[in-house]
């Protein structure tokens, strides 16, 4: 029904069309503006409720500020990061603490490594441009787990299959927005057509820069970046790695032709080696 598409990297404006959909709806996605996130975790709760995600193995305190989720995983498809930074504040007239909060989610990459490497076809591109695991197909090989440059997708060991954010595919099919965006009280999580979200984000970035927030930056918005742009992108207030995000991710499949060339040459070396070993005189 769907393929992983034909292009391995670079700009790709019609990701669903590339995957074989004709007459598909326009690509939708998330713009998460972390500058207005208040860390309420309503997105985490709404996601778990709607998608019926299992509870954590243990309810523990991590000591990582208010973050007791720890990170995205097979049963945590939204994750709010809390970062406490010591800063010098003019308002506080000296040392103060700055809190950064950010709701992380699957990036639904334009060039999705998880989708490229999936050997069973369990991971598919949807007509909305999102990337979804078909649970009835996945055999839990976990290749996608090692391929994802963001460390998003993971295997649920009691279940044996991999799981991640579906961008609420069922809700999209019914004309609803994803549960996390619906629940977000500050519109930190915005859902909509990706093109429109990118415009909104650039406007917001200009506002923040004009207001003196020079460290504000967009992350994953650029269709010319290493993953062809993310379907879920962010406005951050510090370097990506501060939030646990890779600074400049590149889809691993970009180098696939080169990898096969080296492996092919090595395979020929093996055949030649055996031939040479047997070319000598018998004892």
């Amino acid at each position: 029904m769907t393929s992983s598409g034909t292009s391995l990297n670079g700009r790709l404006d019609d990701v669903s069309g590339d995957a074989g959909y004709a007459g598909h709806p326009q690509r939708v996605g998330f713009f998460t503006d972390t500058s207005v996130c208040i860390g309420c975790k309503a997105c985490e709760v709404a996601c778990k409720e709607w998608n019926g995600l299992p509870e954590p193995d243990a309810f523990t305190l991590t000591g990582m500020s208010y973050d007791n989720t720890g990170g995205l995983g097979a049963s945590a498809w939204r994750h709010v990061a809390f970062i406490e930074q010591d800063v010098i504040s003019e308002i506080a007239d000296g040392a103060a603490t700055r809190w950064l909060m950010s709701s992380d989610v699957c990036k639904h990459c334009t060039h999705a490594a998880c989708l490229d490497v999936c050997p069973t076809g369990a991971l598919v591109r949807t007509e909305f441009g999102s990337v979804v695991v078909q649970a009835d197909v996945c055999n839990g090989c976990a290749y996608c787990v090692s391929a994802c440059p963001f460390g998003v997708i993971d295997r649920r060991e009691d279940d044996g299959r991999v799981w991640k954010c579906t961008m609420c595919y069922d809700r999209l099919r019914g004309g609803l927005e994803p549960a996390c965006a619906k629940a977000c009280p500050t519109d930190s999580i915005q859902f909509g057509p990706l093109d429109a979200l990118r415009e909104t984000a650039h406007t917001r970035l200009a506002e923040l820069h004009a207001a003196g927030q020079g460290e504000a930056r967009l992350y994953g918005d650029d269709p010319d970046d290493g993953i062809g742009g993310a379907g879920a992108f962010f406005l951050l207030l510090d370097a990506p790695e501060v939030y646990g995000l890779p600074p400049e991710p590149v889809v691993t499949t970009k180098d696939l032709p080169s990898m096969w060339r080296w492996a092919g040459a090595s395979a020929a070396l093996l055949a030649a080696g055996v031939a040479v070993a047997f070319a000598g005189r018998r004892q």
Binding site: S4, T62, M64, G70, A113, D116, V117, C118, P119, T120, G121, V137, C138, N139, G140, C141, A142, Y143, V145, S146, A147, C148, P149, F150, G151, D154, R155, V162, D238, E241, V242, G244, P246, P247, E248, V250, T252, D255, L256, S258, M259, W262, A263, G264, A265, S266, A267, A268, L269, L270, A271, G273, V274, A275, V276, A277, F278, G280, R282, Q283
Partner: protein, 310 residues
């Protein structure tokens, strides 16, 4: 060498989110993944040995190699299935043929290879359909090298820094290991067999393999910068060092194996141990490089300067 490497890597204080990994550490585990790498490459090299032996009139060796290649292929396939979260869905691997997925390509290579070597082996054992069996044996000389080499693409085509950066070194390590393993099997067979006519070929194959495998391992250890560090330090580095000593001493023991059955057995054991250690080293190094966010940041931002902790 080691001191020079450290000079090249500037001490950097990378920012991170509470030191948590950026990537998920692979779910692939011991001994399944290293075991599969070993069994697959052994079967791959033995298939070529079987075809060459048949072509050069070494009937007994061809028979043994085809049987062993079949055993290796099926044992390897079983190991892979046990690595799955849902082993009962192992055949889902053959739902599609997907060029962008090295695991899909590898599943097809393993399947075709298994069919070919078992056809050749069945023909050897039963003495029937020898034309078909020999044709399958010749074809397995094509699938065999691919089976030995493709896992390098499988590992390199991930976000794991130590694997992705090693797409030149890993195939050398694996095809070298394939020749070493097949040569070691030949040395061991020559030690217990009355017929030592194939000793020379096994000896040469083991020596060529040990050289190529050592070259691959050396390449991993000397990968510049932080990305090569997991191959030099930690349990990955220790296992790779152990692999080098085992492989080299196995080669030395093989020098004496012509006149000594004990030396032949020792050489086979040392070479096999070296190959296994190298496979475990690659898995450990990959896990280490995914577990520490500094490797991810360094691989994507080579010029990253030090910052205050985040």
């Amino acid at each position: 060498m080691r001191a020079a490497e450290q000079v090249q890597v500037p001490p950097a204080d990378f920012q991170s989110y509470y030191g948590k990994p950026i990537l998920k550490v692979t779910r692939w585990k011991e001994p399944h993944l290293p075991g599969y790498l070993f069994l697959g490459e052994l079967s791959g090299a033995l298939a070529v040995v079987g075809a060459v032996a048949h072509a050069t009139g070494r009937r007994s060796l061809a028979r043994t190699a085809r049987l062993a290649a079949t055993a290796g292929a099926y044992a390897g396939g079983a190991t892979l299935a046990l690595e799955l979260g849902r082993p009962e869905r192992a055949l889902h691997m053959l739902r599609v043929a997907k060029p962008t997925s090295p695991m899909s390509m590898g599943s097809w290579i393993l399947s075709v290879h298994s069919a070919l070597v078992s056809t050749a082996a069945a023909s050897e054992v039963t003495g029937r359909l020898t034309g078909l069996g020999n044709a399958a044996g010749v074809a397995s000389a094509v699938t065999g090298p691919l089976l030995a080499a493709y896992p390098a693409v499988l590992l390199a085509d991930t976000a794991v820094p130590a694997w992705h950066a090693a797409h030149r070194e890993l195939p050398l390590l694996f095809v070298g290991g394939a020749m070493t393993a097949a040569g070691a099997a030949g040395l061991a067979a020559s030690a217990v067999s009355h017929d030592r006519s194939d000793f020379g070929a096994a000896y040469r194959l083991a020596m060529i393999g040990a050289a190529v495998e050592s070259l691959g391992g050396y390449g991993l250890e000397t990968m510049p910068g932080l990305v090569g560090e997991p191959y030099r330090s930690g349990s990955g580095g220790q296992l790779l060092t152990a692999a080098r000593y085992l492989t080299v001493s196995g080669g030395v023991a093989a020098l004496a194996a012509r006149g000594s059955r004990v030396a032949a057995v020792a050489a086979a054991a040392l070479l096999t141990g070296g190959g296994l250690c190298a496979k475990f080293a690659v898995l450990r190094a990959g896990k280490a490089s995914a577990a520490d966010p500094k490797y991810v940041v360094a691989s994507q931002r080579p010029t990253a300067s030090s910052h205050d902790g985040g």
